[in-house]
């Protein structure tokens, strides 16, 4: 269970408060007007931003000050999810050992993950030789080998076309089915939320609200969300 306990983040004029928990395995969309703090919320959970007050807990354990790499979550960013100078296999291997000293078992896990995302045999290539969709698959293969209880997506598929994005979201859902991990996903598109996230966190007016059922929220949006959805 991930818990944000009375957290407050402030950056100049901007501030965001959050006080809620997410149950293990929950799939949560994070939606709201742009600039409201959706990415800030994910960065807080991932450890890239420190809260001014409050605590971030994992299973009741305080992890407010833990380094990003020590937290129980794998994160994909809007861009730069792969190191262009490393091969596909190395990029995935980083999810197992950051020093890349993989033994045979670990190397075969990398190969299996690549196979799982449909990129069998792509290991020796460099990311530049891959299409945008294939690069996203490599990043997902890494999420797979990281095998963390939570996956955080900060719109990693925003640059893909609509059909490709849907394909990726379905692949994400399959990966989550297999690993049992929970999901927090920033999204601009309510359809994404309906597609794979039964719950939604609304971020608006400086507050990240506790997750509610996605269908209820979208069918009867509160005023702040209604303006955004148009």
């Amino acid at each position: 269970m991930l818990t944000l306990e009375n957290t407050l983040i402030r950056q100049g004029e901007f501030s965001l408060t959050a006080d809620f928990s997410i149950q293990p395995g929950m799939r949560v969309a994070v939606i709201g007007p742009s600039g409201a703090g959706k990415s800030t919320l994910l960065n807080l959970l991932a450890g890239f931003l420190d809260p001014e007050t409050g605590r971030v807990l994992n299973q009741g354990q305080d992890m407010t000050r833990a380094a990003p790499g020590e937290r129980p979550l794998a994160m994909l960013f809007q861009d730069n999810n792969l190191f262009p100078h490393l091969t596909v296999a190395q990029n995935v291997g980083l999810g197992i050992r950051p020093d890349l000293r993989l033994d045979a078992t670990q190397a075969s896990r990398v190969e299996a993950a690549l196979k799982r995302v449909g990129l069998e045999g792509y290991g020796p290539r460099k990311p530049a030789a891959l299409s945008g969709g294939q690069q996203s698959r490599v990043a997902l293969a890494r999420v797979l080998v990281q095998d963390k209880p939570w996956v955080l997506l900060d719109e990693p598929f925003a640059a893909l076309g609509p059909a490709l994005k849907v394909e990726m979201l379905d692949l994400v859902a399959e990966v989550l089915d297999e690993t049992g991990a929970g999901l927090l996903m920033v999204s601009h598109d309510p359809q994404d939320a309906r597609r794979i996230a039964p719950h939604t966190v609304l971020v608006a007016d400086g507050v990240a609200y506790a997750p509610t059922a996605t269908r209820d929220l979208l069918d009867n949006p509160p005023p702040a969300l209604r303006t955004y959805l148009g």
Binding site: I9, F48, D50, A67, F83, H85, L86
Partner: protein
């Protein structure tokens, strides 16, 4: 609330910056404490100050004045080899001063080709030593720099403006008044200020072409007080004078030049509608041809004489070459030890760290050398430390350039891949090995190449510290010239030229090796 973006600790960078500051300021302090202010400056000291200022003003003014027509010609002509020529304009930066001096002597010296021609024509000979020799050498080095800086000004005029001018039927006079003169007013003063500051701390040129009471720079006076009189008090006092001069000039140059980037996009020729006409085409061609002749003729003679002289080189030259390579590589390693941590720490936000690196510009090698000598003297024999001190001072001198090359790309790596690295637990050494160093190969290669070449060709601190038994290649070459063994000196010059450019090429090439990312 703090955001985390850097995957390695910042304290090594802060430590490195503090070390550099301590070295520069500490040696200054040592110098200042030793300076005998009570004695005041003698007439010969004032003469040195006057000469330093006069030659710097003349060098800057002439370099810029000559660079304007060259830059204009380059900006409005397209011709075969233009790109190569503009790249070559960057080469004097890593050309060893003493090699260039030898080349200039081969053209303008007593038995140079110019005087041979004058004698043949029955005209009086020209004399290269003294003020005009010093200025000539400075123009040789700084005309290319001035040309690049001013060319950049021309390139930054938007093409639309020339189109509009053509539409309005501007002739050369209107073009000058409306477009070119305002641009030059903006570009020329900073270029002149930079060159003025560079020429202020001229040592090797003054050592070889100046000298005597009438043509001694402050740097040379420091050296003479040190080597000939072993008068540390006077050397220290002169060092303080030099520090004030260079410090003020560097501040003015920095202030004037602001944040201009150097050398981007210079290979683009702008389409002009006012540059047709046989007169202007032949003028531009002549200007470019003369500039090329002025820059390439001395260097060609160095190569030709060098090939002839290589067989006449004494064994010490090879030994000195070996020493120089080691010193140069040591200097490069020291530069990396300073520059990498500072660049990483500065990539966060503290740009004041980058400013520490600029200490190397504001200080002069002879001043730091004098300071180190004063510090070492009571404890040990400073002459035993000639090579380490040379490597260290060269590293500090190269640091501002290295930081200028490294900080931007470091910032890109940290901003582009910092969060991904952190989320994967890639930190510390692993981050350096797997992310940072591979992504920095090209700028690292370039910075190392520059440092190695600068250190290879440096004739400064080593002249202070070397005893007759020891020498780097530039110093050995200077000694050969001093004993009129010009053929051997020419051979050494060619060797030095090859080693300097060779080291630069190797590092730069090595950095660009796998450009597949």
């Amino acid at each position: 609330m703090a955001g985390r973006a850097v995957a390695v600790r910042r304290w090594p960078g802060i430590g490195a910056a503090a070390l550099v500051a301590a070295l520069v300021l500490g040696t200054l302090l040592a110098v200042a404490l030793r300076a005998e202010a009570g004695r005041g400056l003698g007439p010969s000291d004032w003469a040195a100050i006057r000469f330093t200022l006069v030659q710097s003003v003349l060098s800057a003014a002439i370099s810029v004045a000559l660079a304007i027509p060259v830059a204009r010609a380059l900006s409005r002509r397209r011709f075969f080899g233009r790109r190569v020529l503009i790249t070559l304009l960057g080469a004097p930066f890593i050309l060893p001063v003493i090699v260039a001096v030898l080349g200039l002597l081969a053209v303008f010296g007593r038995s140079g080709i110019l005087n041979e021609a004058l004698r043949w024509l029955g005209l009086p000979e020209v004399q290269v030593y003294g003020l005009h020799g010093v200025v000539l050498a400075h123009v040789f080095f700084n005309l290319p720099l001035a040309t690049r800086l001013i060319l950049q000004g021309w390139q930054q005029v938007p093409a639309e403006r020339f189109r509009l001018a053509a539409q309005l039927g501007f002739g050369p006079r209107e073009m000058w008044r409306v477009i070119e003169a305002p641009m030059l007013l903006r570009v020329v003063p900073p270029a002149a200020a930079v060159i003025f500051a560079i020429c202020l701390s001229s040592f090797a040129v003054a050592l070889t072409l100046g000298g005597g009471p009438k043509a001694t720079t402050v740097e040379l006076a420091i050296y003479q007080a040190f080597r000939f009189d072993f008068d540390l008090g006077r050397a220290a006092l002169l060092s303080c004078v030099q520090l004030v001069l260079v410090g003020i000039a560097a501040l003015v140059a920095l202030k004037l030049s602001g944040n201009e980037s150097f050398g981007a996009g210079l290979d683009r020729a702008v389409r002009r509608w006012d540059s047709a006409g046989l007169g202007r085409i032949s003028l531009d061609s002549a200007v470019i041809a003369l500039a090329v002749l002025f820059l390439l003729l001395p260097m060609s003679l160095v190569v030709i004489d060098g090939v002839l002289g290589i067989a006449k080189m004494p064994a010490q030259v090879w030994k000195a070459a070996g020493v120089s390579v080691v010193v140069s590589l040591g200097s490069t390693a020291l530069m990396l030890a300073f520059a990498l941590p500072i660049a990483i720490a500065a990539a966060g936000k503290s740009s004041w760290l980058e400013a520490i690196g600029l200490f190397g510009i504001a200080s002069s090698p002879l001043v730091i050398g004098t300071g180190l000598f004063i510090v070492i003297y009571p404890i040990a024999d400073p002459f035993d430390f000639a090579f380490p001190v040379t490597a260290l001072v060269n590293a500090i001198m190269a640091l501002p350039f290295a930081l200028r090359i490294l900080v931007g790309p470091t910032r890109d790596v940290v901003q582009g891949y910092g969060r991904l690295s952190l989320s994967l637990g890639l930190t510390g050494r692993q981050w350096l090995r797997i992310v940072y160093l591979p992504r920095m190969r090209a700028p690292l290669g370039f910075a190392c190449g520059l440092t190695a070449a600068l250190s290879m060709g440096d004739l400064g601190v080593i002249a202070l510290f070397a005893d007759p038994e020891t020498a780097t290649l530039p110093l050995q070459m200077y000694r050969l010239m001093g004993s009129y063994r010009m053929e051997a000196a020419s051979g050494a010059a060619l060797l030095l030229l090859v080693l300097s450019f060779g080291l630069f090429w190797l590092f730069d090439r090595g950095g660009r090796g796998h450009a597949d990312s």
